[in-house]
């Protein structure tokens, strides 16, 4: 029998319990695979606003570019890249579930699962606890995870293949890598370009090891 958990949060909010109606999360951070150019703009932008003391250091980033999962990491021609980003998993997120001090809470504004650094004892349980490997450790031992920048993710703005570039270039239309969109809008985007799938929602795309999509 599942234990019914009711976690007190710093800001008074609660984890939702199984069976509860989850409030509609308006927007979510998505990434498309294969279109990433490995320019590291998202990493740099993220670390720029999150690094302490006016320093810029990619180890403070909460998003990390990796080789696309459908291409072998050791492949010489690692053609595809993919930003590894927090999916802000549904209630409760796996990283929070393994946390012994209940340091995670939902930000009421963005519904992002974030870490309360005062409660965190830096036991690092959440690092392997995250199925997507998106909880990172700073040089100070501080645990880092995406906080959606309070509702305006800087990585989405910085992405060198971002939405604004979609329509203005007349002969050059393509999709951005990063989206901060509601699910319906993202579904529509996927229908336009079905080979570019959300990593989480559509795992089957990863299994089709065929051709990598053309970015041109």
């Amino acid at each position: 029998m599942q234990e019914v958990r009711q976690k007190e949060l710093v800001n008074g909010e609660v984890w939702y319990q199984p069976g509860d109606e989850v409030p509609n999360v308006p927007t979510k951070l998505f990434a498309l695979q294969n279109l990433c150019t490995d320019c590291k703009m998202c990493e740099i932008a993220c670390s720029l606003i999150h690094s302490p003391d006016g320093m810029l250091n990619p180890v403070w980033t909460r998003i990390k570019i990796d080789h696309a999962p459908q291409v072998s990491r050791v492949s010489k021609d690692g053609f595809g890249f993919m930003p590894a980003l927090c999916h802000h998993c549904a209630n409760p997120p796996p990283c929070a579930e393994v946390c012994p001090t209940d340091a995670f809470y939902y930000d009421p504004k963005t519904q992002a699962a974030v870490i309360d650094q005062d409660k965190c004892i830096q036991c690092m349980e959440c690092v392997p606890g995250c199925p997507f490997d998106t909880v990172f450790v700073a040089p100070t031992g501080e645990l880092l995870k995406c906080d959606l920048c309070g509702g305006d993710p800087v990585c989405v703005k910085a992405c060198s293949t971002r939405p604004e570039m979609l329509n203005k270039g007349k002969q050059y239309s393509r999709l951005p890598v990063l989206f901060y969109e509601d699910k319906a809008a993202f579904g529509k985007i996927l229908r336009q370009k079905p080979e570019a799938r959300d990593e989480v929602g559509l795992m089957q795309a990863m299994l089709s090891k065929g051709k990598v999509s053309s970015a041109a």
């Binding site: 320019c39 021609d77 050059y172 970015a215």
Partner: protein, 675 residues
């Protein structure tokens, strides 16, 4: 703003860490400016006339303050050294992720001196520096070296990125380049030979240390604004899609290509144009240098159906060929198939050799053969076997590349320092003057673009500090006939935009050299600025972000002076070696033969050459007779210390102390040809 400077003496194994103070950035901006100063300082203590392949030479790597900070204008690293092939000042630029990651390793500048007793590589990881044995890497090409080092060093604390040489560098071929991340080449001036002469196979960095940003909020704000400007810029899309290949068509229109050793100014055949490239070749993904919004590079694989010749290269993967790869193969050597052009780019990068100097060496011999100036017997003597020397025959060309890289035969030995020295040595050997067919500019550096019709461009080829070159001064005002740009740079005057008259051409050359020196010193890519230097990314715009990152806020005039100071330091280096006005020249064909075709058919560079050069010296404030710098100018730029050194070396205008004649050493007889 402060930066880490690493000094490695390979002879003694001594490793020193220094801090470059804020004042260094105030004087030399960063990147190439600071590199130039480090080179200057080195040769105050060492003999400047030393053999560039000796342990006395120095290899300096540097990256400017704007690289990798999220500004989105690209990252460019710079190598500076005394050039083994041209014998003068030498530097070259390259992108990739090496210059990005090196910033987080704790050192922005790396100075390598001496010579290791056996092949080594330098591993820099978070301020810790190790000199490691590279016996297992020796003989590998640049891509294999990169892959091997990545595997060896793993992904902790960060991914490893490399700066390495291929076989050409190992064999100290004068025109060997240095390759960043196994693909992006610092091609010009022979940095590979300098690394090879030091037994240094590679430099590898990993790093997770931070960079101090003076005003992070200001940087973010600037970056946001830059993105919006980029979104509104149509040219950026073309650039994203085609990279520099768009220049093929542009040059076909204005007659700016270099065909068959510049016997023509247009490419022949329908295949090699940017449309065919974009449509036929499958781009698997775009790949950037780090920190760039444009991503003009891409990864490709030949599938075999693209063209007839593509069958030969099925499965070959490579990056986007850029214009000069195309110009050196489809142009200089008349290769008419994209698959072969891409293959040419791939092999020259893997061997690590400059395809400009290499292609002009090959096309020189091809023209001699075409004109029956040399016989089949002469050819057999050169190559040790019969060789077709047919235009566009890729199998043969590939064999010739190998000959130079491994210096297998007399051809390889003669042409290891490029077309000029090769032609000179061959002329001497045969007792016949072939120099008419050698294509080169200052210092004997070759360049595969037509310039007879473009006076600024022509002048750049004659005065660029590192030898005939496209990235020291830019000819965009006249080539695009940009009257608006001319007005902006020259107080409303429009003459600079008209390539048919000599007026303001020397001036454009000087002003744009200052401008480009400044941008190179920021550590960013030139192409964002080139998209439109006026409205899109004017230089002042870069000044703003430089101020946000370093805290050094300059006025427009001060910035241009900074650029001029850097140019003058490079010039001073060459003056010390003995370069004078007579060295600021271009080859006979460019100078005296009329342009054979295109809209500017019949134009001869010699008609305007002296006039433009005079004007250039005037704008530079240098002495017109000798081409030397004047004390007045040097004092204006705050370069009194440099002026003193020049005066002591008898290399300052009007301050001749003795009649000691100094000349650039171009010693032909010291080249050993194996029996």
């Amino acid at each position: 703003m402060e930066s880490g400077l690493l000094r490695v003496d390979l002879s003694t194994g001594e490793i020193k860490r220094e801090i470059l103070p804020h004042s260094m950035f105030e004087r030399w901006v960063g990147g190439s400016g600071i590199n130039d100063w480090l080179l200057w300082e080195h040769f105050l203590k060492h003999d400047i006339t030393c053999d560039a392949r000796s342990p006395d030479n120095v290899l300096i790597f540097g990256v400017g303050p704007l690289a990798g900070v999220g500004s989105g204008i690209g990252v460019k690293g710079r190598l500076t050294f005394k050039s083994p092939c041209y014998g003068s000042f030498g530097d070259s630029t390259g992108g990739g992720k090496f210059p990005y990651i090196v910033r987080f390793s704790g050192y922005d500048y790396i100075v390598v001196t001496g010579k290791a007793p056996r092949p080594v590589y330098i591993h820099i990881c978070n301020s810790e520096v190790t000199i490691c044995d590279a016996a297992h890497l020796w003989g590998k090409d640049s891509t294999q070296t990169h892959e091997a080092l990545k595997k060896e060093l793993g992904d902790y604390p960060s991914e490893a990125y490399t700066l390495s040489i291929g076989q050409a560098g190992e064999n100290q071929v004068g025109i060997a380049g240095v390759i960043s991340d196994g693909w992006r080449i610092h091609a010009r001036c022979g940095g590979g030979a300098v690394m090879g002469s030091k037994n240094l196979k590679a430099i590898v960095t990993q790093g997770t240390q931070g960079i101090k940003i003076d005003n992070p909020a200001g940087l973010l704000e600037w970056s946001d604004d830059f993105r919006q400007k980029l979104d509104a810029n149509e040219a950026a899309y073309g650039f994203k899609r085609r990279g520099t290949l768009g220049a093929v068509e542009m040059y076909q229109k204005i007659g700016g290509n270099f065909w068959r050793n510049n016997q023509g100014a247009m490419f022949r055949g329908d295949e090699v144009n940017s449309d065919n490239w974009v449509k036929k070749y499958h781009k698997y993904s775009e790949v950037c240098s780090s920190d760039c919004y444009i991503a003009c590079d891409g990864r490709y694989k030949i599938e075999g159906h693209e063209s007839d010749k593509a069958q030969k290269y099925i499965g070959e993967s490579f990056r986007h060929p850029e214009y000069l790869t195309t110009g050196s193969s489809a142009g200089a050597l008349d290769v008419r198939d994209w698959a072969e052009v891409a293959h040419w780019g791939k092999i020259t990068n893997e061997y690590g050799i400059d395809n400009q100097d290499l292609s002009c060496s090959i096309s020189f011999l091809m023209e001699l053969k075409q004109r029956d100036i040399i016989s089949d017997r002469d050819v057999e003597e050169l190559f040790g076997k019969p060789q077709s020397l047919e235009w566009g025959n890729m199998e043969d060309i590939e064999a010739l590349v190998e000959d130079v890289v491994y210096q297998k035969n007399p051809f390889g030995w003669l042409f290891r320092d490029g077309a000029y020295h090769g032609a000179l040595r061959y002329s001497e050997q045969k007792g016949q003057n072939f120099m008419k067919y050698a294509m080169y500019g200052k210092g004997g550096a070759s360049f595969t673009e037509e310039m007879r019709a473009f006076p600024t461009w022509m002048n750049n080829m004659a005065v660029a500090s590192r030898g005939a070159d496209h990235l020291k001064g830019i000819g965009l005002i006249e080539k695009f006939q940009r009257r608006d740009l001319s007005k902006a740079y020259f107080n409303g005057r429009t003459e600079a935009a008209d390539p048919t008259i000599p007026d303001l051409k020397g001036a454009s050359s000087a002003v744009l050299e200052n401008q480009v020196a400044l941008l190179n010193s920021y550590g960013v890519c030139l192409f964002h600025w080139l998209l439109d230097p006026l409205s899109f990314a004017p230089e002042s715009y870069y000044g703003e972000v430089y101020a946000a990152v370093t805290g050094i806020d300059r006025t427009k005039e001060e910035r241009m002076l900074d650029g001029e100071r850097i140019c003058n330091l490079e010039k001073a280096f060459n003056s010390r070696i003995g370069m004078r006005r007579e060295h600021d020249t271009i080859c006979e064909r460019w100078m005296h033969e009329p342009c054979p075709e295109g809209p500017y058919k019949g134009r001869v560079a010699g008609d305007m050459f002296e006039q433009v050069l005079d004007e250039y010296y005037e704008w530079r404030g240098w002495d017109k007779d000798t081409g030397l710098q004047t004390r007045k100018k040097m004092e204006e730029l705050g370069l009194e210390d440099v002026a003193d050194v020049l005066a002591a070396d008898n290399a300052m205008a009007g301050e001749s102390r003795s009649s000691r004649a100094v000349h650039v050493k171009v010693n032909v007889s010291d080249v050993g040809i194996p029996d």
